[in-house]
Amino acid sequence: MTMNITHKISRPVAAILGLVIALTLPSAAAANDKNVVLFIEDPGKFEVLHSRAQSTSTGAVLFGLIGAGIEEANRKDKDEEKEEAILVHIPDDACHSYLVDAFTVQLEKKGFGVTVNHAKVGKTAGDAYAVRLKIDACGFRIVDSIDDEVAAYVVAQYRIFKPQEKTSGKLEELTMIGRDHRPWEDFQVDFDGAVNEFRSVKSRAGTRLANKVIYTK
């Protein structure tokens, strides 16, 4: 059964009703007061830092400073070869992938909404918090030159600020190094392990960053 009801109201009453509705509706700012906007200002670059961390003394002994320079350049090439070799097995080498997912999940658990913006800091439309993230690098780096062990890592800088308070936030460093430390050769025969560790370290970085937002005073 359908009912068609037509109410006839005078213009002044309609105006008052309109005003009441407008006042009771949440404002744009209030609607975003549980939203966090993440500006990824620099997505970072995948890098392997292994051979470069080794001594260049052989080149130096044989050919002095120029020899050391040549040896260092040679080691950089070796690291680039290692990057290419492992990147074939890493389906998603972007530094921000998994980091952004973990960041979003952690904040959503606490009732926040998350907007990701791949740009320099811009308008925030009344968001509760804004995060400016610059990822320096991610990948695998040497963590113990004595045992020649490498681990997955991500290094970033960030600022957390409250747009409505017009603060710029303190510049902070975020370094996350994987728990699994192994010789490079071990990761080369266990690509699944390398991929999992790389994802895990990025996820931990995202969760850490989210917690920093949640507990920002």
């Binding site: 830092l49 470069r52 850490r208």
Partner: protein
């Protein structure tokens, strides 16, 4: 001209002596700047009392926490902490508990732990020195009466930065950053907070 050269040389030698050159061992006062400790889920359980015992040192190399390196990346002087790393970590956890509204006392929840890793790695580049420190500890929380472990976790803190010089101040800053990150892991551990709330 010769006098200026002598002055520069003398200043360089004095500078190296003050900052500690790569040949000399360094004994660093780390963990003294733990006043900036974050609040996190650890602050959610009502005020608790903790007893933080000194941790066990399970590192392979218990003498040093890293090596200074020369310009060619060769290991030179030892980097060590002035206080045992076990004490440094126990003190950092104490600071974190206090900053999150808890107190320290003899009859409290017992915190024990094992330090598995405490290492600073330096990479000498052409224009800078990249330092990275990684600290890992297993931490056990036990009932004060029964001594039964009701929660345990492995926490890992890292920090890295690029510096122009391998000074003791820079090494200290990097290690303190890793200690702070280790504490963040404990302070932000939601499962730990839930275990403590359930007591």
């Amino acid at each position: 001209m010769q006098t200026s050269f002598k002055r520069i040389l003398t200043l360089s030698i004095v500078g190296l002596a003050l900052h500690g050159c790569a040949l000399t061992d360094a004994s660093l006062e780390v963990g003294n700047d733990m006043t900036v400790v974050n609040e996190g889920p650890l602050s959610e359980p009502e005020s608790l009392v903790f007893r933080v015992n000194e941790f066990e040192d399970a590192r392979e190399d218990t003498v040093r926490v890293g090596y200074k390196k020369n310009g060619f990346g060769q290991n030179m002087g030892d980097i060590a902490t002035a206080r045992p790393v076990t004490e440094v970590i126990s003190d950092a956890i104490t600071a974190a508990a206090i900053a999150n509204g808890h107190t320290i006392g003899e009859s409290g929840i017992v915190i024990d732990g094992v330090v598995n890793r405490f290492w600073i790695e330096t990479d000498i580049n052409f224009t800078n020195i990249e330092m990275a420190c990684n600290i890992e500890a297993e931490v056990f929380f036990s009932h004060p009466q029964s001594n039964d472990v009701f929660y345990s976790a492995t926490y890992n803190g890292s920090f890295s930065d690029k510096k122009q010089m391998g000074t003791e101040g820079n090494f200290t800053e990097i290690i303190d950053g890793a200690l702070q990150a280790l504490i963040d892991e404990i302070v932000f551990d939601e499962a730990l907070a839930e275990s403590l709330t359930a007591l």
